[in-house]
């Protein structure tokens, strides 16, 4: 049974239509990539799932409709959405940011979850009292990921985690996402412009073009798909 299913989801910003009927699904335990050019509707798709934008169509998560509710509702149902720009609290300290992951109150035990996160990101413990604004871009992305993990999400949604990061940091980040998926069975929906690395880590992928799913398949298939290769992988 799919964990998340979108059925003919449409969205618009004022008069401009951003999604023209997107349908996709994410199964439990999968890493699914959402690829596409700028303006294809990748971010809007995630925003639709979190009810951060007006939509029509059906969005079912864990057997229940979650369309047109509220971001806090989605978060409390177990969707951890790390938005573009990471969505940290720049004035709060590293540790306070991490604590904010637990306030959605799905499952208790912050201390225990924090310990688990520190195993993945040991530096968080050493720099817990530093304001989040003083972290580097890569550290901010990792803190945002750590904060999402503290909430023990059923689905992790990452919006362009590689944006503005050095290639080695991107590798490091995706290695951790892969490890989380393999070790803990974490389900991930990741939006990326960097199709190369997204297809390496994901098991299936969707390519969005002007607000619609243009291509879908397993990541292996997409890596061999001629159109995808030319447009997004660059060879």
């Amino acid at each position: 049974m799919p964990l998340l299913e979108l059925n003919d989801v449409r969205a618009r910003y004022g008069p401009i239509r951003a999604l023209h009927g997107v349908s996709l699904r994410v199964d439990e335990g999968e890493v699914v990539a959402l690829l596409g050019a700028n303006g294809a509707g990748k971010t809007t798709t995630l925003r639709a799932i979190s009810s951060m934008t007006r939509t029509s169509g059906e969005i079912v998560f864990a057997g229940r409709g979650i369309a047109r509710r509220s971001p806090e509702f989605a978060a409390r149902r177990g969707i951890a959405h790390v938005p573009e720009g990471r969505g940290l609290f720049p004035e709060l300290t590293v540790w306070e940011n991490l604590r904010m992951g637990a306030v959605g109150g799905r499952r208790g035990g912050f201390e225990q979850e924090a310990k688990r996160v520190i195993e993945y990101f040991p530096w968080i413990d050493r720099r817990r009292d530093q304001p989040a604004a003083t972290l580097s871009g890569g550290e901010q992305q990792m803190l945002a990921l750590g904060r999402a993990l503290v909430s023990r999400p059923r689905l992790l949604m990452l919006d362009e985690p590689s944006l503005g990061l050095a290639p080695t940091v991107v590798r490091e980040l995706f290695a951790i996402v892969q490890r989380l998926n393999e070790d803990e069975g974490l389900t991930v929906l990741v939006v990326e412009q960097n199709a190369t690395i997204a297809l390496e880590v994901s098991s299936r992928a969707y390519v969005l073009e002007v607000g619609k799913v243009a291509v879908e398949g397993t990541s292996d298939e997409l890596q061999r798909h001629e159109g995808v290769r030319k447009s997004y992988l660059g060879y």
């Binding site: 971001p71 609290f89 009292d129 909430s151």
Partner: protein
């Protein structure tokens, strides 16, 4: 996969609690230094100058300033969470002070005080839910006009319910004075100072040490990010308005005994409090408190030692000082520069 090692960094940051303490101590040391210097100047210019009289003026100023500080903190609290300058803050305080006055006919002072705070909290939260929430996403000017409307409505309402004539308001503190190191201090002023500062410290502890306080700081920092981690932002805003109303109620009940109670009790105090909040930096809670105390001391010293200012020109004098500070430091003493990304 092992996470690659990073270059070690030297961490010069101190913990948030220690940072606030250092800032507070630094502020007090600086303020004392300035006051001593000012006193030394006054010994040369004033023939009848005495250090004990000077100290007395400072204590009076601190006591008055503590009231400004409470109301200024209420303004900052709402500004930080809702991005609104709440022009009705003073009238909300007056209204709750009238409620306290009525309650005091039925019970003794402190129970009435406590019950008033509870009522203020509920009332403040209710105002956010009922009056502010419907215009929440409108342009700022709309919200400002709504708060001004609220000011007029509450002012009229308290005149209508309690009659506009002035009323005596009880003080919990005795009328006497005490002498500390040659400085005569009235219990009234000392009591006001202690109650206001205790409220501020309690509030600070709430924001610093409780999870709910953390969540409210997060909402003040970013509402979108708060929603994405599951915070019910609407309720946090109501909570912020409730706490601001509590601060206002404390300020009103502390101000009323020395000025009598009427519907315009907080009118001038609100202006001083706006000045204090802007002086400290409108986004800085520490700044609001410091700004209130500075302003209180300043207008007392100016009013006492500068002959032509006297009692009448205190308010304009305070605004001149504010203007000078803002010309030198536009973000206020403790505020942050506003950086807008385009």
């Amino acid at each position: 996969m092992a996470v690659p090692a990073r270059l070690p960094r030297i961490d010069l940051s101190v913990g948030p609690v220690l940072r606030s303490l250092l800032l507070g101590v630094g502020f007090i040391v600086g303020a004392v230094a300035v006051l001593v210097l000012l006193g030394l100047v006054l010994t040369q210019t004033e023939t009848a100058f005495s250090w004990s009289g000077y100290a007395q003026q400072i204590v009076s100023g601190l006591s008055q300033g503590a009231i400004f500080a409470s109301l200024a903190l209420a303004l900052v609290l709402i500004y930080r969470t809702t991005d609104v300058l709440n022009f009705a803050q003073g009238e909300m305080a007056t209204f709750t002070t009238f409620i306290a006055w009525s309650l005091m006919h039925h019970m003794s002072y402190w129970p009435a005080f406590a019950l008033t705070l509870v009522i203020a909290f509920i009332g403040g939260a209710a105002i956010e839910r009922i009056v502010i929430r419907p215009v929440e996403h409108r342009p700022e000017i709309v919200i400002v006009i709504v708060t001004i409307g609220l000011l007029i409505a509450l002012n009229g309402l308290s005149g209508w319910i309690w009659n506009p004539e002035v009323k005596a308001f009880d003080s919990p503190f005795s009328n006497g004075t005490t002498e500390i190191a040659g400085v005569v201090i009235s219990y009234q002023e000392l009591g006001v100072l202690v109650v206001c500062l205790a409220t501020v410290v309690l509030l600070w502890a709430f924001f610093r040490f409780t999870t709910l306080g953390l969540v409210m700081r997060a909402v003040a920092n970013s509402q979108d990010a708060s929603r994405l981690v599951g915070v019910r932002v609407g309720w946090m805003l109501a909570l912020g308005w409730g706490l601001a109303a509590v601060l206002g109620a404390v300020a009103g009940m502390m101000a009323a005994p020395s000025q009598f109670l009427d519907p315009n009790l907080m009118l001038v105090i609100l202006i001083y409090s706006f000045a204090a909040a802007v002086l400290g930096g409108i986004d800085s809670p520490i700044g609001a408190v410091a700004g209130g105390l500075i302003l209180g001391v300043l207008i007392n010293i100016l009013g006492t030692y500068v002959d032509f200012i006297g009692g009448e020109l205190r308010l304009p004098a305070a605004l001149v000082v504010l203007l000078i500070v803002l010309l030198i430091r536009p973000q206020g003493l403790f505020g942050h520069k506003v950086v807008r990304r385009v």
